[in-house]
Every structure is written in C-alpha cells, then in structure tokens.
C-alpha cells in the first residue's frame, strides 16, 4: 500500500471512470481499492476532472462511512452492531474482541495488523453475531472464533 499518492496512477483511475454517468462514487471506491484510502491530495485531481469544486468532492468523500481518508491496518474487521445481532449477544462479544485486541471502535492495533469497525447489518441476521474479516464472512461469532480467524490470516 503506497503511503503517498501516485499521481499518475490516480489520474489513470479517474480517467478510466469518466465515461460513467455519475462517476464520483465509483472513482472514490477505486481509490480505496487501489491505495487503501483516499488521500487529500486526490481531491483536487478528482474535482478538476469532473468539473466540480474541491468542496463538493470533499463533501462527498466525508459523507460516506466507507471512504477512508487514512490507511487502515493490514486487515479490517467489521463487527455487526445492528439489532438482530444484538439480540444474539453481539455487544458482549464485541466488547470481548475489542478488549482482546486492545482497541476501541475504529481503532487499529498497535502492530498495525487489524482495524476494527462497526457495521450495521451484513445480512446474516439469523446466524449472528456476525462479522466480516476483510472479505471473509463469519457467522456465530465468538471471541475464540475470531482468534482462530486472525491466526489463520496471519499465518498466510
């Protein structure tokens, strides 16, 4: 994950989306996909290409929860906090997981391995508590299960 924005690659990403109707969200998603986050220096590039003001691009970038503006940890763990998972004890499982990792919501572990985010529903509502570890779904989450998922990911 490059720490500084590669301006040439950034421009390529923008250009690849210009034929779309309403290209701003797809561009921002592509930035997160490529660089892991949307660096502030990307804002004027995007604004210029789409004939928008920087304020408009900034407004969109900051409105949506998904558009990270700083790098995340190596892995992102999203734990569901919505009602159906709460009904199956997700809040207490989440508290355990956060304590085990030594972070709060939105925090990244000290070794930079894992960022923990809240998520409101993954559509696994009959099998909660649920979580998404990178793109791997986890149902019936327990603190122990999470430890084994993390260990497996780290061993790869």
């Amino acid at each position: 994950m490059p720490a500084v924005l590669d301006a040439q690659r950034a421009q390529e990403i923008i250009d690849a989306h210009l034929a779309l109707e309403g290209p701003l969200l797809p561009i921002l998603h592509a930035f997160v996909e490529e660089f892991g986050f949307v660096d502030d220096t990307a804002v004027p590039l995007i604004a210029n290409a789409l004939n928008l003001s920087r304020a408009e691009v900034h407004g969109v970038l900051t409105f949506y929860h998904d558009f990270r503006r700083e790098p995340a940890g190596k892995h992102v763990l999203k734990i569901c906090r919505a009602e159906a998972c709460q009904a199956r004890g997700s809040e207490s499982v989440a508290r355990h997981c956060l304590a085990d990792l030594g972070v709060d919501w939105h925090g990244t572990t000290q070794d930079g391995a894992i960022t923990v985010e809240p998520v409101y529903c993954l559509g696994l509502c009959a099998n909660g508590p649920s979580a998404l570890f990178d793109d791997e779904p986890i149902a019936a989450l327990t603190a122990d299960k999470l430890v084994s998922v993390i260990e497996e990911a780290e061993s790869v």
Binding site: P26, E83, A84, L124, A126, N127, I138
Partner: protein
Amino acid sequence: MTRVFVPRDVVALALGADKIAAAIVATAKARGADVSIVRNGSRGMFFLEPLIEVETPAGRIAYGPVTLKDVAALFDAGFLDGGTHALRIGKPEDHPFLKRQTRLTFARSGITDPVSLEDYAAHEGWLGLKRAIEIGSAAIVDEITKSGLRGRGGAGFPTGVKWKTVADTKADRKYVVCNCDEGDSGTFADRMVLEDDPYMLIEGMTICGLAVGATKGYVYCRSEYPHGIKAFNEALQRARAAGYLGKDVLGSGHAFDIELRVGAGAYVCGEETALLESLEGRRGMVRAKPPLPAINGLFQKPTVINNVLSLATAPFILAHGAKAYADFGMGRSRGTMPLQLAGNIRYGGLFETAFGLTLGEIVEDIGGGTASGRPVRAVQCGGPLGAYFPPALFDTPFDYEAFAAKDGLIGHGGIVVFDDTVDMLTMARFAMEFCAIESCGKCTPCRIGSTRGQEVIDKILAGIHVEANLRLLEDLCQTMKFGSLCALGGFAPYPVLSAMRHYPEDFKPHAAIAAE
C-alpha cells in the same frame, strides 16, 4: 457421477461452506468416489446451513447443518446414496419450514446454481420476459397493476401506479433503478436475490424497462454485501453475453442494459431520493418531494425506483398472470411477502408466505420461539425504524394496514426476535444513536432530534428528572415523526415510542434497577 450441492450463499460461506466443499472433493478423491460439486443458492433455512444436498435416484437428499468435521462421517454413512446419518434432513422440500411456504418469488432459491443460465431457463426463467415482449408496454403495466403488487421496500406504494406514471411521462431517456440498499437489520431477502437467483432480478428490471420505455437500469447495492455484488456482476456478464441484455433484448428490438453500483456505507441511501443523489455522485441527502422520481428522478429523467423484491416479483406475475399472484393475500395486501426471521430465533431464515398470518404464528409456530430457549419479550418488525411488539400484540395479522393500525410497520419484512434478557431502554437509546449516526443532516428534526433523543435517554438512565425527561422524549418523538423530511427521522421514533408504551418498566434509572 454424483452431484453434491454446497450453497454459495453468504450464510453458508460464513459457516465454512467453502472448506466443506473442498473437503468433500478431497475425501471423494481419496475414496475413489466420483463427485461433482454444484454451488447452489440457499433454501433460506439458515438454521440448517450449511445444508448439503446429494442428488439420488429418489431425489435430492439434504444433510445439515454440516461442519467440516462431519464430512468423513457423512462418507462413512454413505451420504452419496442418501444414507442415514444424524444430520440427514431428507428431501428439503418435505421439511416443514419449506412445506408451509408459498414460494413465488423465491421458487428457485437453493434449487439452482444461481449463475447458471441453463438452470434458470430450465426453471421457468425468462418466461415472464418473453410474454412481456409479446404483449407490450401498456399490457405489462396493466398486469402489474391488476396483480396488486405493492412496493416491497417498506412504503407499500402500488407498483403499477409507479410504472404507469413513468410510462406516461415523455422523455428522451428513462431509468429503472433497483434499490438494493437493504440496510435494515433483520432483512436479507434482497441479498438472497442477488446471491441465489440474480437472473430473476435482471429479468424483472428488463420487464420494467420494456413497460416504461427505459433503456438503462441501475442496481444500487450496499457495500456490506460483497458476495452479492460479485454474484450479480457475474450474472450480468453472462446475461449480456447471451443476449438477454444489450442493444436488442432477445431480438425484440428493445435496448436495455443494467449496471451495478455500490453504495458506501450510508443507511440513508436506502431512502429513494437519497439513493438517486448518491447514484448521481453526491452526498446521500434526501430530496424534497414533489417532484416525484417517476417524473423527475435520476439525472432529472423519469425513473422507476423499486425495491429488489418488487422488481423480482414481476417475472412471476408476467409468466403466470396477475390473477395467479393476486389470489394470494388478504385485504389490500396481495400476493406473498418474503418474511425474514432473524435475531434470537430458533428457526431463522426466509419464509415466503401469503399475507395474513398473525405475528404470533410467525414467531412461535414458524420461528419456534427464541434460539436461547428463553421467553420471547419483544419482536422488532420492519428494521431499525420499526416498532417493538410485545407478545400481547401477537394476534396482529401480518399485513400493511393491520400493522399500521398498531403503530407499527412491516417494512421490508424483517422480524427480529429478542428474549427476556433485552433491556428496552437500551434498545430505544440505540434507535436514537443509529439515527444520529446515519442522519443525512438535511432536516433539523432528524439531525438534531436524534442526538437530543440520545441525551435525554442518557438522563433517564442516570435518574435525572425522569418523569420530565420521559415527557420530553415523547414530545421529541412526535416532533421527529411529523417534522422529518423522510422515513429515517420520521420512523426512528417508532421503536422508541413502542418501547416506552409496551415496556414502561424498563424506563427508569438503571441504577435503581440494580438496587432493587
């Protein structure tokens, strides 16, 4: 060669289906058995997932819930020939959970390989579209209107009226937008359509395009569904390559194509005008209505915006006729509703049935009560903005009007069960907190009200002027209900008010409860 079905629905994946599929292949190889794996969709019996099925001369025999460590024992038990094992369910369609359903929209789910065009065509796929091409725009709209189909996203607006408005509005370009921003907790039917029967949605949107004269469709899917996004994109590619989408749909001379767009974690984008703003590349801020999207929608063009389930129902209605659909249901709620049984429930999953069962029948008879085995205390219907129902209201029939009469909503059909350990003041606080996190900020009652609501509830929790703050909370809820621009602020009071009304014993300082 024996075909073994291992679902690719995310519920099965989240319970290890990929590893189980790999283990079945490896074990079969080691034992010299000739096996081919089919990644089918889910039957929606999530309490049995991963539900593995084997094709035998006597039909498909199911086993579940299977874990990785069961695989060897299943081979030992001769499961490839339908052998006896503790996990053997028998024929899935004979299982009481499926047998009691009326599957019109989810008829194929779990039976077919979701991305196989051959499977789809072999199970009544494209019949609706072919008939739509034959009968033309006005007759399609007529069928949808006569079916009595109402928007399955939550508002329950007659789908035929919406289509007719767009069809009658002249424009150089029109759109079909599918709302797949299924953010309500306790709902997963839209996700299942994407993952388990995506061609049905493609067919439904294409029928809608023909009906209203639109050439472009967008599916706006929430980013929390990465597996659904992948499955639907794969289906789109295959459908396009086979001529079901493109410049000349099935040689009809009509052009229609679909593009999937991914949301970015904003719940409010499930509101139709916020969704359109988001598709256009802006903040997901709610638009004032009028103008209606049907007249002035995406990029200011006439736009049908419907929920996944509404669009996915169109193929059945066109293939079998409006009457076949309207014959199900009660009162003004016609057809079937895919109920989603979730939360602390014993038999959780998708249960498609005609309107009219009571809430008690759904929760106790079909859902089997709580998964924890404790008594049911509260049932939240219709997502995070839906009311909490106590068992005293379990005689309420499940239809749009009956629920509205009890100050509730059926919404997208999500039913979340809580046992007696739930604290309703905490749930009321969560409703306000969620609204504060997700408010788009456009209108004051929602933007400020949700934060103030959270603060007032915290004061009640801490025992500060409890009586006065309860009155204030009630008053604030009324302001949000009647003063908000859209359903987010307008309905967030429903869980709060219903919790206050039905569970007053929880609305006292929590230190006092501890002291009791």
